[in-house]
Symmetry: C2
Subunit: 603 residues, 2 copies
């Protein structure tokens, strides 16, 4: 499956791949030592910088082989990523170091059968005859029993049974088993990602993403919860909105894959507590008052038809277990994908979005919490903020002047969260902003500041701002894109919340910054930020940046695992039971920590 990604010159192939949602193996931490992230540059090899020397046998100029962690792109190129280098390949994910698991064991599977027809010596009932072939525990609903006599006789006593666990979902008389696909859903507050998986092979057959249809009904989870609290009927409105989004994604996936909607026989969904509950039609009102109480905690399945999904009529949706408060199924899915419980050294899992979810595994314990980061990282409440979509400035580099990378190589019309982090880090480094987040003007600016940069610090509406793009700078008619003082304040609030959350979990488990072995960044935003910039503004602890790993969409990955193996679903429930939820909403310590974190750290 081809994916295109835009990156500034000098970006490592590892990072570029991560931003395309492809996570490579980096057991050595991405320092060119283990050779696991080997990729093949099939076109544009001349645009490659670094990554070739002294790394035999992994690198090879003849074949275009190189290590993605050290190779950097200086121009357009096509890169082929071998299955063996993928972090999320079944090989690496499903075979963990204990070596116990690893088989493809989907909950729903086709099962071929051939029955002896009834005779005077064999008058077994239809149900028993089928059970004797498929297993004694096979259960048939009344609907299935009703269809059975006709199906068996119409198919000359042979065909393919579709089984969900031991439950018969359907019978087909076709000689070849009908296709069986699953959908893994990552239901974000802002974005819904759907992955189509061929359950017979585990192969990913497509990925589609779209804005959560609920977005127009409220920016963040709180506003949507408040809607339902004010008007119970809005529960249906919100459920319908996300249901329609998912059905749209399914429609596209099905069309592109050339399959039928009824070939989708299983669905797994992961999202935060509010998103999961709204998707299921469970009232999230109790998440809108103290203490925050979710409706359920265990993973469970419900009929897809009851939610209104356009799938096989008897498909079920498995909804991930939830930890508590706002720490939901997406966090459990990410824990599952990263095998967080098996990390022997202190490991931090961070998913930054409108809510920041943080899990710290250390000293045999796991603590999870969530903080309300607000939508700043997703571009909302930022004057010219926008989602990471074409036209968004997504990366900023300051030297003598500013260099920006715009998604889709388009004319810049705004900035997304990752550029916001870049800008703040760079402004701090260049002395154009003080540690309280105040943008400096005129004689407050360092005397040695390049004039181009100096000229970008201006006033707008009586407040200082930093000009990311001047009017007409990127072509005639191109709008100005400004970073305003107010935007920095929003960033500070968001950053401080995450910082305080991480700090409290570390203190609870007695983990010093230097002891952190790994920071795993999950979620869309995490994969777009520059690690060092996130550390510069205090969003992430200041560990050596090779210890900060991009995990891609770990929630999606966890959902895929649960789609491919029943054991993963049980594992998810066990993870949920092992993690302790830390509720910061009532914690005075959090308020102190949060206040302190409003000051950017020393360089």
């Amino acid at each position: 499956m081809d994916r295109a990604v835009f990156a500034l010159a000098g970006t490592s192939l590892l990072e570029a791949a991560a931003r395309a949602g492809i996570v490579l193996q980096t057991p050595c931490g991405g320092v060119g030592r283990c050779g696991k992230c080997r990729v093949l540059v099939t076109d544009g090899f001349a645009n490659l910088a670094d990554g070739l020397t002294g790394l035999e046998p992994w690198s090879d100029t003849e074949t275009g082989a190189c290590l993605a962690c050290v190779a950097r792109a200086n121009g357009p190129m096509t890169v082929d990523i071998p299955e063996t280098s993928l972090f999320e390949s079944r090989q690496t994910i499903l075979t963990d170091d204990t070596g116990v698991r690893g088989s493809l064991d989907p909950h729903v599977r086709p099962c071929r059968f051939e029955l002896p027809p009834p005779s005077s010596r064999d008058t077994r009932s239809d149900v028993r005859r089928l059970r004797d072939a498929l297993g004694p525990d096979t259960t048939l609903s009344a609907v299935r029993i009703r269809a059975l006599p006709g199906a068996l006789r119409g198919g000359a006593w042979q065909g393919t049974a579709l089984l969900r666990g031991s439950t018969l979902m359907g019978l087909s008389a076709a000689a070849t088993p009908p296709p069986a696909y699953g959908i893994a859903l990552d239901i974000g507050t802002t974005t819904v990602v759907a992955t189509l998986i061929d359950l017979s092979s585990g192969r990913e057959a497509g990925v589609e993403a779209n804005v959560n249809g609920q977005a127009t009904l409220g920016d963040d989870v709180i506003s949507r919860i408040l809607r339902v609290r004010q008007n119970a009927a809005d529960l249906t409105v919100l459920q319908t909105a996300v249901r329609d989004t998912v059905n749209g994604l399914i429609r596209t996936l099905v069309r592109k894959a050339g399959i039928a909607a009824r070939d989708i026989v299983d669905v797994v969904a992961a999202g935060n507590t509010a998103m999961q509950q709204l998707f299921c039609g469970y009232d999230p009102s109790a998440l809108g008052e103290l203490p925050f109480v979710p409706v359920f905690e265990r993973g469970h399945a419900l009929p897809a038809a009851e939610i209104g999904l356009k799938t096989h009529p008897e498909a079920e949706v498995f909804v991930f277990p939830q930890i508590g408060g706002f720490v939901g199924g997406d966090t459990v899915a990410a824990m599952l994908a990263t095998r967080l419980d098996r990390c022997t050294a202190p490991t931090l899992l961070v998913d930054i979005g409108t809510n920041g979810e943080i899990v710290l595994a250390a000293n045999g314990k796991m603590l999870a919490t969530s903080v309300a980061a607000g939508p700043a990282f997703e571009g909302a409440r930022i004057a010219q903020g926008m989602r990471a979509a074409p036209g968004a400035i997504e990366k900023i580099v300051l030297n003598d002047d500013i260099r920006v990378n715009v998604i889709g190589n388009a004319t810049p019309i705004g900035l997304c969260g990752s550029a916001l982090v870049d800008a703040a880090a760079a402004l701090l480094d260049h002395g154009m902003m003080d540690e309280t987040g105040r943008l400096l003007l005129d004689d407050e600016l360092p005397t040695d500041l390049p004039s181009a940069l100096r000229s970008r610090m201006r006033e707008a509406d009586g407040h200082p701002c930093f000009v990311l793009a001047d009017r007409d700078e990127h072509g005639p008619g191109a709008p100005a894109v400004l970073l305003r003082q107010k935007d920095i304040r929003e960033l500070q609030l968001a950053t401080a919340a995450v910082h305080a959350g991480i700090g409290i979990l570390m203190r609870r488990l007695h983990v010093e910054t230097g002891a952190i072995d790994r920071i795993l960044l999950a979620g869309g935003f995490g994969n777009f930020i520059r690690r060092n910039h996130a550390q510069r503004i205090g969003l992430l602890p200041a560990v050596p940046s090779e210890r900060v790993l991009f995990m891609g969409n770990a929630a999606s990955l966890g959902a895929k695992l649960a789609l491919l193996s029943v054991e993963e679903r049980r594992y998810a429930d066990r993870l949920r039971d092992r993690v302790e939820h830390v509720d910061l909403s009532l914690d005075p310590e959090f308020q102190n920590e949060f206040g302190a974190a409003m000051i950017f750290p020393e360089p």
Copy 2:
């Protein structure tokens, strides 16, 4: 619950009670030895004959106490039957001789709960909070989870949960548990019997019966099966017919008991294979061709709403396991009620209806078969035959002349199956019919035959007939009721089928007639026949008549047991697995036996 029954003078109270559907305990075989069938004659004591002398301490003229097995009614009386004398009382049925079982353990039961409200120290999810109170295995459907947040908060965190096994069916905030009733259904080809049971006490709260609405669509199971084979859409027509019959019975029961339809939270149904399958909407077509194959064999539950029953919306119907061919759930239910597997001496269970179902337990084995008796015993295909309804001659005694008992003390308008058996036996005994079943006329009749009887043997339409009631004999305008030669032929066919079936099972298990310890008569017809008359015509083996016991509606009783205890449902499946089905449809031995049985036995 009062029941009225009409009986000829001289009928034992035991037999009269059985005909009212009340089965008394008779461990001694009904010979006045054990005292278990003790009843109290509260009114009309003077009309009692026998049953008082020498039976102390059980009999007592002062209190009206007597033994039902030996006491005979010579006139109207009111009899009070103590719970301890009932064969079907929970005390006797649910406590068997092994003493293991016996508790009232219904599948559906209300369960009171009181939960601590959420607090900052206790942010468990709603589902978990409820599960912690009701049991960790409690499962909630999506519908239930949806209703949960509102129900818990609306009821101040307390109320009553309705549980089916570990599945939550509903929540009520009421302080007192809402009523929970069950319906036990005996779905016969001709008649449907519904019993209303209070699940909290096991108390029977009402019984209603009505003609199976399918009767107008076909007399017997075969004609209904053929309908579906010819036109698949008729499956729905037939299902709807019996569904409507059941709903009518439920409506009446609910109204009389002063409860609501939604108080009916569980349903158990037993019937023959065709009736059970039609009730469930399972195509019975394969029962209409050789080899007869039922759709299912195991007992299972399906949603009552899916069948269309007017009960609690989430109630389920448990359908009894089926043995094979035409030996269905009613036979398993009767086996369950009679604990047939625990009989140590050879025991025969016989349910005579349109189909005769026969089970023989002997030498550690159980064999079951069914024979097509045709509807003669239920009054069909008999010129003036009718069901056991008001106006039906139900009993015939021949002495100098004929004496008849008419149901409802009404003017006789026809005869039902039990009178047919009486008549045939009496005609044989009086030499008015030869052993080939030929009615005799004029000089063929014994010379010493009383003239009144002789005058009743006439010709009608060129064939001999026996006049049960002359025109105007029972009042002005009363119609003549005739027993025709053709009617005797129908009786012979029906009798021979049952006789042959019993004979083959006995031969298979090497049981001689003299070795039969008990013949248990189940089903409506069995409880209306005179044992000695049934034996006289060869319908039942010629064992001493005290070894022939009326079991009442054993299928209904089995259904009630399954309603009151989950363990009984499992027991039913085990019984089903232990019994071997003998398919006589392809057995040449049966044809021989059947032919031979067309000749009435020697006296």
